[in-house]
Subunit: 86 residues, 2 copies
């Protein structure tokens, strides 16, 4: 596989700066960072006593949960599609 060009950007998430490196566009990387920032602020608003570390872990838990739900829906669509294609 040819080596893809990597984008390197700095993003701010919950008051800290992170360097992100990836083959995705910087627009995509900024979107990801801003979604994580939003989720952290949302969880923090409901649990003001959490420290940043626990808050970040719960944000990761939340994201993986969303991912698994979407994966279930995705697999259902795949089955439907398979039936329709015969």
């Amino acid at each position: 596989m040819a080596e893809q060009e990597k984008n390197r950007i700095s993003v701010e998430i919950y008051g800290n700066t992170y360097k992100m490196v990836g083959t995705e566009s910087s627009v995509h990387m900024r979107l990801v960072a801003s979604l994580v920032d939003d989720k952290m602020r949302e969880i923090s608003a409901h649990n003001p006593s959490l420290d940043t570390s626990k808050l970040a872990v719960l944000t990761a838990v939340n994201s993986v949960h969303d991912y698994l739900l979407l994966k279930e829906q995705y697999e259902k669509l795949e089955i439907q599609l398979k039936h329709l294609k015969g």
Copy 2:
């Protein structure tokens, strides 16, 4: 909406114990916790100098990234399905 019964469990993620509360089964919640734990350990193995908080933020970033990629694929399937259904 009728109130759903909530499950309350304790899980261990990266050496810390978290109380999880949710309408999902405890099996699902344990799966989510173990996926987050795995991801944190994987990222940590590549970046041993990261503190837990940054590690957890990067884990969340990683999960949201996976979510967005899957969402794109999901939307493509939806379009295919729509065409097939006419």
